[in-house]
Structure formats: C-alpha cells, structure tokens
Amino acid sequence: MLIITILVSLLLTYFTFTYIPKLPSLFSNFKGFFNTPGFSQRLVGFLWSFVLLDLPVFASVFFGSPAISSEIETRTAFYVFPLPIPRYILLLSKYFAAVSVTIAVIMVYLVVQGIVFYMVFNGILLLPFFLSMGLTILFIFSIVAVTFLVSTIFNKNTYAYISVFLLYFLIFNAYSIISEVLYKVVPYYLLNNSASIIERVYLNISTGFGSFTVTPDGAGYSDILTSLIIMLLYTIVSLAGALLLFERKEVK
C-alpha cells in the first residue's frame, strides 16, 4: 500500500512540474476560468485531491477489512475471545490501529503534495490544502468504520474485501446514478459524494449525471459542514453497528 502511495505521489509530482504550463490546452473546457487568479493552482490541487477519494478506500480495505473476519478465519478468535477483555475494547483498539496505519500511509502522499505545492505555489493554497487534509483524515475515520462494520458481518476475509469494494464503488455509484436520472436529486448523503469535498475545497466542480458545473472557487463552508457532518455520522453509525454485531459475534 505504501509503495502504491509513493508511486502515485511521484506520478503526480512529475505531472505537476511538467504540465503546469500546458494546463489551459489540456483542460480546454475551463478555458474561460484560466484568467481567474489562482485557478491553475486550484485545478492542480483538485487533481492531486482526486486521488484522495480512492486511495484511502484501498488503504482502509487493506488494513481494516480483515480486522474482524480474519480472527474467525485464522482461528485466533479462540485465543483472544476467552481472554477477559471486553469486546468493545478489542474492536476499538483494532479500529484505531487501522485508522492510524491508514493515516500514516496517506500522510506520505499528503506530505509530498504539501512539499510540491510549497515549491510550486509558494503557499497560495495553504488554506484549501489544510482543509482538504483534515477532511481526508475524517474520511479515513469514516471509511475504516464502514470497513469494520462489513468485517464484523463476515467470517471470511475475501467476502469482507469484496463487499466493501462493491458497496463503495458499485452500489453507491449505481444508487447515485439512479437517483440523479430518475429523481434529479444528487444523493449528497452517500459517503462517496460527501467525500468529494476533499477535492471540492480547491475547485467546486459538480459532475452530476448529464450536468457539469464549475465554480472557480472552492466549495463554501456550508458544503464543507454538510460533508463533515455526513462523514461523522457514517463514522458513528458504522462503529456503533460494528460494536453491536461484534458483541454478539459467535465462532461456530
């Protein structure tokens, strides 16, 4: 996971240094906006953050999915469960361990991003950068919580891995598309939609089904607050669900 993160950050570093002067020709759709001060920088910030919508999902699935299911699959549950440790402590310890290691890996990317931005933009994007970083960390808390909820349901790692990917990349997206096409409503309450705030703090690009709107500024504070509350709710509800399920978990 760390290698993938380093590779992606190196690729984007290369892209940033090589293609900044070519941005207007690469993104001809935004031609009118390039006269707006700071737009190029915001666009680069947006592109860097685009990766942060998926990278934490992969990292959390990698570190979080087997957390509970592997205890059953590898029979370590027979060692741990009869010990006098409350199960909620066991689950929360594993949760914070998974969150910490996911943050540590993603932090490598964010540090590279910070250095590149400092070198190229000389501190122009300081506020959106730190906003995006904070929201990424919150997103990690929520996606790891969802991952743990799924992991407590299954007794096999593979099912847990696949289910999180299906839920996040297929079911959420399918639901989004159906909602937008049939009811013309963007389901902002889905985790993937609220996580898009990580990139929208740089540039408020909305890519709804059949529609495409761009604001040359970052998302407003009300948008940020809404996404923050949704991610927080996902964290709390998923963790509560995981704790309830884990408390009743049996090893047959």
């Binding site: 029979r75 370590t76 060692y79 469960f81 009869p82 010990l83 006098p84 090893v251 047959k252």
Partner: protein, 299 residues
Amino acid sequence: MPQIEITNLTKRYGKLEALSDFNLQIDQPQCVSILGPNGAGKTTLLKTLTNIIKPTSGSVTIDGISVSENPMLALQSVGTLIEQPEFYPYLTGREVIEFAARVKGANRAKIKEELDHLSNLLSMEEYLERKTGTYSRGMKQRVCLAVALVMEPMILILDEPTFGLDPRGMKEVRDLIINLKKERDIIILMSTHLISEAKEVSDRVIIVDRGKKIYDTANESNDNVVKVTLETPIDIKHVNMKLENVQLTFLNESTFLLKLLNGMDNSKAISQLLSLGYKVKWAEPYNDIEEKYLKSVSL
C-alpha cells in the same frame, strides 16, 4: 471455592439443536471429563462456558457470575483452551503468553515469573523466542496450554488438551493435569475422545450425545463394585476364593471385580482377601465408562 453451574442450557444452530436442556453443576475442586463422539456437543458446551458462543436459552455461571452477561468478570480466573486456537504468526510464543498474562492483570515481574515457570513446566524453552507461525501443532498446543495456565486460574476449561501431541507429550499433559489437581484446589473441565484419558485423569466423567447428558458418574453409586489388582497373577481356572457377601468377576489373571452384596463394605471385602493370603496391589471403586459409553452413545 470455584464453581460452575449450567442450567437448562440450550444452543441451536438453525434447526440443529447442539445442546438440549443441559444441566451441570461442579461445586468442588475436581477434574471433570466430558466424553462423547464427534458432534455430541462437547465443544459447544465449552464454547458457551467461555463466551465464544451465546446460549439460545438457559444460563451459564462461573462463581455465580453469568458468562453471557458479564464475561469479563466471569472469565477473570478461568484458563481456556478451545478448539486448538491459532496465534498471530508474527508474535513469538513468549509474546503470546505475555499478552494473556497482561490482560489478566500481571505486572512485569509477575509476567517474567509466569513465563519462566510455564516454559519450564511445559518444556518450551527451546522455541519460546521463535515466531508462532513456524510452530508445529504440538508446539502450538503447548503454548495454548501455557496461555490457559497463565496466572494460576481457579478453573481450567480444556478442549481436547492432548490433541496433536506425541505419546510423550500426551503423557506429560495428563501428568500435568493430575498434578494440578493434587497441588491446587481447582476445577478442571475437559473434553476428550479418549476413554482411557478420561478414566486416568478425571474424578468425574460425563458422557454427552446429541447435545444431551446421558451419563454422569456423579449420579452413579460407585460403592458396590471394587476393582482389585493383585501383586502376583493367579491361576483363574483353579482359584477358589471363598469370600462372604462378595461376587467375583475376573478381568484378567491379576485383576478382578468385587461386587459387594448385602451391605458389605470395601474395607471388609479387602480384609477378607488379605486374610486369604492374597497381596493386593491396588483397589478402587469401579465404573465401567467404556461399557456405558458404548451402550449409551448412538452410532
């Protein structure tokens, strides 16, 4: 004094009733063996006792504390070995035992003392520093036993403790159980497939089949049959023992059963043998567990 009480315990997996209205009370230090064929419900019983599964109905209490309602407190002084557990492969045997000791409240000095004692007791010195991922089944079983024994529990729950061990290891574990019984006032509740093992180490044997308790030596009177072993074999065909109120059944040339009749007691029966010049090597109350097992357990 440690105590285990299981009342009307039922455990269902869908339509399958793994345990059915099971009752068991152990209120004094002793070794109790649960004997039964595969799928009889032995492991399910031990799993409910250790909070690995929850009962469908009924209650399980350890020292008066409900295991399902307050597992942390109920299992504080319980050592367990259930279903040959695996350990995290990146931990050494020492770390595995250390973790168990730490969650049971041991400080650094106590952990060291426990590790030294257990590695010596279970002959694990050679491989304790190796990662458990490289262990053989027998090595893992010894570490499992060490985890169960750490911090001197008052109750030991052991699911087939000799599984995976070579004959020498099996004997060592049996001797360990016998010594623990002698040295400390603890309850040992173990499941086994081996009738000989149950007979050798247990004070009480319970036979389980299809989730039900079908035989318990605690409910049987052991007083009316005595198994006697003589120091020297005798010629069974020509022997003429004239014993009063005793019926003799020879098992082999040096062992026979004395069935005591008309209120005859053990010591008087043995005295009669001694007065006839027979040297008694061993005499014990007799329970034919094997016979009971084969008669009562379904095929």
